[in-house]
């Protein structure tokens, strides 16, 4: 086993959070190539009790999911998410960046502040860039912690994403008549929320 592979192994092993290649390079001696070591290491841990997984830009060691039953003791009690929170999370993940108005349009109901706060608190979502439309609404995007929690390499790996996209269900389809050609998005959103909110 190469020295660099040992180093990467030790660093990833010691950390509960994913570590990026840049961070690895930073911590390893000058001239090290953690990317290559990661490839070897990943192979080495295939099929083991602990595996090397990719999370967004980072890498992390995680126990194999099929052994979860052994970990009663380590299980962390997670607050049960409300249906509203789960749906809001899914909408943000699949439509990101998503504004509150977009979430409300899809669910057909107002999003309560608590729901968004809960997701922010879990650090599963965070604020993205503001949308360049009138009112410059904030957008929400999912975080690396979200990816880590659900064992996703990237948001592109969300289950069913491709099918949804192919079916046009991720399109931002304006309500007919709500937006006349040339009208901007902000007004369009307003038109839609009129429909379902009062």
């Amino acid at each position: 086993m190469g020295e660099q592979e040992r180093m990467v192994e030790a660093i990833l092993f010691a950390s509960a959070e994913p570590v990026t290649v840049a961070e690895l390079t930073d911590r390893m001696p000058h001239g090290a190539d953690p990317a290559e070591a990661l490839v070897h290491l990943r192979k080495r841990y295939e099929g083991r009790g602990v595996t090397l997984v990719r999370v967004g830009d980072g890498w992390a060691m995680r126990t194999a999911p099929d052994l979860g039953f052994l970990m009663q003791k380590e299980m962390t009690e997670t607050r049960k998410l409300s249906r509203a929170a789960i749906e809001t999370l899914a909408i943000i993940a699949y439509h990101q960046p998503a504004t509150r108005a977009e979430i409300e349009e899809i669910r057909g109901v107002a999003v309560s502040r608590g729901t968004v706060d809960q997701l922010l608190e879990l650090e599963w979502i965070r604020l993205g860039r503001r949308r360049m439309t009138p009112g410059r609404p904030v957008t929400f995007v999912v975080t690396e912690r979200f990816l880590d929690h659900f064992g996703l390499e990237s948001a592109r790996d969300l289950p069913g994403l491709k099918e949804l996209r192919a079916a046009g269900l991720l399109d931002n389809r304006p309500a007919p008549g709500a937006a006349l050609p040339g009208e901007d998005e902000g007004e369009e959103m307003a038109g839609q929320s009129e429909l379902f909110e009062d």
Binding site: P65, E74, T76, I91, Y94, P159, L161, P176
Partner: protein
């Protein structure tokens, strides 16, 4: 809920009625009118793309009617949706009016079907997401993490230029700056204060302020102006500090000062 009054033109079966009531009791469980519509659409048991929006609108309106009969208060947004669906229904039933602007009933219906399909799709993927293996439930991170100790080292730097500039600054006893204006004929208030503090003790009674001008500053008009201003400003400062008293008998008369007697301070 006692009378089995028929709510539609046909008498519902007992099971229908129970189902309807269950639906109504459940109203709190709905996440808004769109959610309710989605639930109602399931009774049609068809692909959402082929759903009959007209039929759905009727089901929804019937639901709202039943809720009214059972005196269940529906949130306002359910009523707004009912009004909109009634409007949609009329558009779908009546032949299109060529003069009327706006989207056709079909377009509106298609969009509603799209919204329902999208909501269902999001429900579905949300469920799939939650069914995934989750960190802390199915797979786990390292239990005993080793923190990275951060060793902070501060490296101070200074160049020879910094050193020379610093020395130049001190030698000119002022902030080093490439540009400096002439201050040769300026007597500062600080200098005046210093001077007056030393002298005030010796002056007994009222003394002319002009007597406090430093030697060599009383004749050249430029120097005299600066020294006078500084001395006057300094006297105000000393008066403010309660160390002296100032007096001027008349406009443009000589200003005289004297030390404030200590028993009064």
């Amino acid at each position: 809920m006692a009378d089995p009054t028929p709510f539609d033109d046909q008498t519902p079966s007992v099971s229908d009625r129970l189902a309807a009531e269950a639906l109504i009791i459940d109203v709190d469980g709905f996440e808004g009118p769109l959610d309710l519509l989605l639930m109602l659409s399931r009774t049609q048991k068809v692909d959402l793309r082929r759903i009959s929006v007209l039929q759905l609108a009727e089901q929804y309106l019937a639901f709202v009617d039943r809720a009214k009969q059972l005196r269940i208060e529906l949130a306002a947004d359910y009523l707004v949706m009912a009004a909109w669906l009634a409007f949609l229904k009329s558009r779908l039933l009546l032949p299109p009016d060529p003069d009327e602007e706006g989207p056709s009933g079909e377009e509106l219906a298609a969009h509603l079907a799209f919204q329902l399909e999208r909501l269902e799709a999001m429900r579905d993927v949300a469920a799939r997401l939650m069914a995934r293996d989750q960190l802390g439930r199915d797979f786990f991170a390292r239990g005993l993490t080793e923190d990275v100790t951060r060793i902070r080292r501060v490296h101070y730097t200074a160049t020879l230029l910094d050193l020379m500039q610093a020395y130049a600054r001190i030698r000119t006893h002022d902030e080093f700056r490439p540009y400096a204006f002439d201050r040769q004929h300026v007597f500062t208030m600080e200098q005046a204060l210093e001077r007056m503090r030393g002298l005030i003790g010796y002056a007994g009674g009222w003394t002319d302020l002009m007597g406090y001008l430093p030697d060599g500053w009383a004749h050249d008009p430029v120097r005299r102006r600066s020294a006078t201003a500084a001395t006057f400003a300094a006297s105000l400062e000393l008066a403010k500090q309660g160390q002296i008293e100032i007096r001027q008998a008349d406009t443009f008369a000589a200003i005289t000062i004297r030390r404030k007697s200590s028993d009064r301070s």
